[in-house]
Amino acid sequence: MLLFEKRENVSTKLKVAIPLISVFLGLVAGGIAILFTRTNPLIVYQALVKGAFSSVYTFSETLVVAIPLILISAGLIVAFKMNFWNIGAYGQYIMGAIFGSFFALNMPATMSRPLLLAIMCLAGILGGALWGLIPAALKAFWEVNEVISTLLLNYIALYILKYLMYGPWRNPASHGFPLSKPFELNAQLPRLLMRTRVHLGLVFGIIAVIIIYILITKTKFGYEIRVIGENKRAARYGGINITKNIFIAMAISGGLAGLAGLAQLSGVIHMLQIEINPGYGYTAIIVAWLASLNPIIAMFVSVVFGGLETGGYQIQMAIRVPFGIVGTIESAVLFFLLGGEILKRYRIRFRRNTS
């Protein structure tokens, strides 16, 4: 018979061992899936790691994917610490991209590059923050469930983007494709390394992580959101202004998602289009939770997720396994990681049924 006993405290050893074993078991399960494509899983895994981390180029591609994840998850952690379920990074990312693009598309090509980029970044943050403040206001004044409101605002953001792309912002020279004019050089974030696509967004991400970490662990604001997140009634009793903190937290959360969207456009895509990878907004939710809401750990988890995606493209080309396999491996690993959480909370004992 299986018995579950509640654990009061988890030792550090277990805290490290459980996720490692979970990842291993996830890879085993993923390996079984790979066997169905008549390929040796070890070769696939080897290629996956090689495809993600082995050369300067592949690692740089991994970082390119990690940049938006780092920025978004840092922001999400602020909201999640407060127990505010921001599922809307997807929409906030799109709005950041739209607001930033407005300046990229409308300012003269002769404008100073640092000035234009600074304006674009601020606009990106503002766009994401405004989109984040809508559910904050709905929650603060009318108690609207934020899961629903943030989720629905994602669709609204997507359709605003579609409207602009099929309508006023479409490039007349794009032969009817829903693309904007390409960004001029002064609207492109500078690259950090020659012949790679790693852009200045990486620096933004690292700065954001440091600021968020300090914000949560050292400031009054951080203390207040943790109290609100853990016990709202105690927060009210302690005289903490919950409404104000919801607004600030969502401005930060949305703002960083918006900056991520802007950075992806200005650093990688160089034009506004319909497919700008807002799905990072959802992946970042997983990143934040896997990192136990620690922004520094989240940064490393983001790189791992970046590696999975980049490596996935590589194995598709090198070994010709379907890209879906990567999704399968990713899901299997996640499944085991989340399952491992149970072991952190309960001690499981086996017992023979004697009676």
């Binding site: 018979m1 018995l3 009061e8 405290n9 050292k218 400031t219 009054k220 604001f221 951080g222 203390y223 943790r226 109290v227 853990e230 016990n231 009634r233 105690a234 009210r236 009793y237 302690g238 005289g239 202004n241 017992r351 049924n353 004697t354 009676s355």
Partner: protein, 505 residues
Amino acid sequence: MDEIIVQTKGITKYFPGVLANDHIDFELKKGEIHTLLGENGAGKSTLMNILDGIYHPDKGEIYINGNKVHIQSPFDAMANSIGMIHQHFMLVDTLTVLENVALGLKSQGFYIRKPEIAKQIKQISQKYHFNINPYSKIWQLSVGEQQRVEIIKTLFRGAEILILDEPTAVLTPQESDDLFKIVKKLVKEGKSIIFISHKLDEVMEISDRITVLRKGKVVGTVNKNDVTKSHLAKMMVGREVLFSLKRKPLKRKGEVLKVKELEAYNDKGVKALKKISFTVAASEIFGIAGISGNGQKILAQVITGLRRATSGKIIVNEIDITNASPKAITSSGVNYIPPDRLKVGLIPNLNTVENAILRCYDREPISKRNFIDYKEAAEYTKSLIRKFNIMVPKIDAPVKLLSGGNMQKLLSAREIAEEPKLLIAVHPTRGLDVGATEYIRKQLLKERDNGLAVLLISEDLDEILMVSDRIGVIYEGQIMKVLNIKDAERNKIGLLMAGVDSARN
């Protein structure tokens, strides 16, 4: 009568870092009420959870009717005719009594045969005078009635041995009396009862025999007729216990709190306070006595700004604080020990330091500009721990790991350390053991001697009588009468609590 129905031999149970039960020998005779007495953390509930199959002993044997048994789960316990009524009820609020009884019954198949179950529930209800309708929803029932549903659940499953885990902790005095009648009736019908408690008065009232536990060990088993209350208290705590506290007579000084014709509504939209008026002076403990649900909780919430007043005024030191924000009220010198430490007063998952600074995190020296100096905060916490004698093994561990008494001490310490002019304390000793209770009450008296005005709201009449200078009796949102402590007789207060004013009739 001397037939032994339950016997444990050498039951031992370890929890990480704690020896919860240390070779416990215990026996229950058929048809007796056997009380398990001990402070919080003495191991009473652990032992009973072992009998009920929730925990499994590391060592030791259990015999039922002389046969050795292995109880693996509450199902096994039930098969051995053991039923436990937990302190926190295991009922589904939105379901009916019948559905709760049927829940988990193995005899029922895919379909639940409702009329049959209803008939049996009615039979049990009649036999023991429970007065429960099988088709009522749980949320419609009072706490006392819900407890009776729990008893029905165990009787329905054929329990012969009933374990009641601190059953009176959630009941009013009247409801407790009703429960005792039921328990006596159960014994008359041949059931055997294990009664867990740390309230000496009720233990003396109900028990046949008493086994005292201290720190996981059996101190002794005694017949009720051979012992006195103070003897039991000494066995339980390991030292002499005071049943009354010394109190300096003090003159009423200036009035600190003035409540004038205050009105407010509860969550259901019913008027819970009806033009209530009273005052509390410096160096005075004003006790509010009343049966739970007569507006006490609402009163505390309105004064502390957690609920809106619809009319009337609250004045503290000549400043009108009616409907001000909780923060503004606190900074005008009002502090609050709320009734529910885990839901309102503390943040269970945060550590001791983070809980200790809830009132002072936004001023110097704990915070400078927008940053919190956690080193300074830790120093402050340690000084509270020293001054108020709080047992905290690790100040950076979640506060939920502390014992109830230490949580309450921490909470009280935090509020008192703010040096308020007015302290509102609601059920400050509920669920605490004798030692912690005594400590908190002494602390209230000490602060009163230093000039603090205290509004004490409690359902424990003994507590009110022990520490108050004046007593206001609340009934249906109104103060029936205010009595000076020297005129306060138990009977008179009891009648007022039930809404009867003998002077008026």
